[in-house]
């Protein structure tokens, strides 16, 4: 029942996105524009400053993620459909997981474009350890989206939600972004510093566990009016 509900919410969000392409296009455009602006600023004579690529990758993920979080919940706010979902006999945390999965999938699509783009523009060896990089992106994106999905749902009824979301989200997710940047930097160094990268990955995974557990625990009481 739990997983079925989550997948139904994910499938519904996917069906809306396929029809409108609204969030995919805006987040992708924003993320690519972000990377391009940084490349114009930092890349001189084909040389990027060391460690710029991981920082720009995670900034683009975080900013486009914030945009996606706001828009995803705007859809549920527009016709108050979140109330209909909360009234359904499905486990309420399953609704949270469904929305979380939607954000993670959306950001994964962005990352599929961002990684080769950054590799090309910054000359970064992104594909030296592809599985480790994928693990970093999966864990970092999940941790960021876990907190963001909870906050975006909480702020749905606030008139200043667009302002409040980044104000609440970034202080909590800064450790995630630091882990992502330091770990990816270790991975992209020459030669790749795998032990350091794996240490950061373990910390990111621990954050995933903590953030998702806390969000599942608090979602239902926070959603009650």
């Amino acid at each position: 029942m739990f997983l079925r509900t989550s997948l139904l919410v994910l499938r519904k969000d996917f069906a809306i996105e396929v029809k409108t392409l609204e969030i995919v296009m805006t987040t992708l455009f924003f993320a690519v524009a972000c990377v391009l602006v940084f490349s114009f600023a930092f890349v001189k004579e084909g040389q990027a400053p060391p460690d710029a690529a991981p920082a720009i990758l995670w900034i683009a993920v975080a900013f486009s993620g914030t945009l996606a979080l706001g828009r995803t919940f705007e859809r549920e706010r527009y016709a108050e459909t979140l109330r209909a979902l909360l009234l359904a006999p499905a486990p309420r945390p399953a609704l949270y997981v469904g929305k979380l999965l939607g954000i993670v999938v959306l950001l994964a699509l962005d990352e599929l474009i961002l990684v080769p783009l950054i590799a090309f523009l910054f000359g970064a060896p992104m594909f030296v350890r592809p599985l480790l990089l994928a693990a970093f992106l999966a864990c970092g994106t999940t941790a960021f989206a876990a907190v963001g999905t909870l906050f975006a749902a909480m702020l749905m009824r606030s008139r200043t939600r667009d302002v409040l979301l980044p104000i609440l989200l970034y202080p909590v997710t800064v450790p995630v972004i630091i882990c992502g940047v330091r770990g990816t930097a270790a991975l992209l160094s020459t030669p790749p510093d795998e032990p350091t990268a794996k240490m950061w990955l373990a910390i990111l995974f621990a954050m995933d566990v903590v953030f998702v557990t806390l969000a599942l625990w608090t979602f239902e009481p926070l959603m009650s009016e």
């Binding site: 029942m1 079925r4 509900t5 139904l8 519904k12 069906a15 809306i16 029809k19 409108t20 859809r75 527009y78 016709a79 108050e80 459909t81 109330r83 209909a84 979902l85 909360l86 009234l87 359904a88 006999p89 499905a90 486990p91 009650s224 009016e225």
Partner: protein, 234 residues
């Protein structure tokens, strides 16, 4: 065996939002077959009471018992017995009528193959089933939202201003549906300030103002004058 009930008891329920008292000490019993008109001016507390009954808002004090049991004791099986239609229609405008009903049927664990076409027929939208809801008129959306709220055959049906923006034909369709639900033993609660529609439709009236229940009585003949005397005197 699925949870069911034939009465809802609201016992001394208050609901405060900060210093504002949306509901104060409201007690009311709703029985199967009733169409209870929750009547009062804007800001009277009708929508808050509907939210409390729908388990979407918790009372600050007092409790609501469904067949003698508290909502927190029952949990999800109780939500399976409640249908809610509010002024906001709880439909995804980007999805088609069929996709909306299919999604909500599956969320309620209902087989959409048989229920969705029947619901589309009842909403008189079978020929527009695959059109996006954002292209529908208010009346079409309202009919679809009504079927969405009733897909799972709830015991307690809560309507919060369901007639807003509807033409006469649509009002009479919704009214007939409410009467048929009550005849089948559903508890129907209708929050409205449209006395013309409520007159002749509701079987009982609960008059509220300033979060207080002023009267709970069988629907009188001449609802408007009774409303004026109760609300105006308060």
């Amino acid at each position: 065996m699925p949870f069911d009930f034939d009465a809802v008891q609201i016992n001394r329920v208050s609901r405060h939002f900060g210093r504002r008292r949306a509901l104060s000490n409201v007690s009311l019993t709703l029985r199967a077959g009733d169409i209870v008109g929750l009547l009062g001016p804007n800001g009277a507390g009708k929508s808050t009471l509907i939210s409390v009954l729908a388990t979407l808002a918790m009372p600050t004090s007092g409790d609501v018992r469904y067949g003698g049991r508290l909502s927190r004791e029952i949990g999800a099986p109780l939500r399976d017995r409640i249908g809610l239609l509010a002024h906001e229609l709880y439909l995804y405008p980007e999805l088609s009528a069929r996709q909306n009903l299919d999604f909500f049927a599956r969320i309620y664990g209902i087989d959409p193959v048989t229920t969705v076409p029947a619901a589309l027929d009842r909403a008189n939208l079978a020929d527009r089933a695959d059109d996006d809801v954002q292209g529908f008129s208010r009346g079409m959306r309202q009919r679809l939202a009504l079927e969405r709220a009733l897909l799972h055959k709830p015991r307690l049906v809560l309507f919060d201003e369901p007639f807003t923006g509807l033409d006469d034909a649509a009002v009479s369709i919704v009214s007939r549906r409410l009467q048929s639900l009550a005849a089948e033993g559903t508890i129907v609660v209708l929050a409205t300030h449209d006395l013309d529609v409520a007159d002749g439709l509701v079987t009982r009236v609960a008059l509220v103002r300033g979060g207080r229940l002023l009267a709970d009585e069988p629907a009188p003949a001449g609802l408007r004058s009774r409303y004026r005397s109760a609300i105006g005197a308060a």
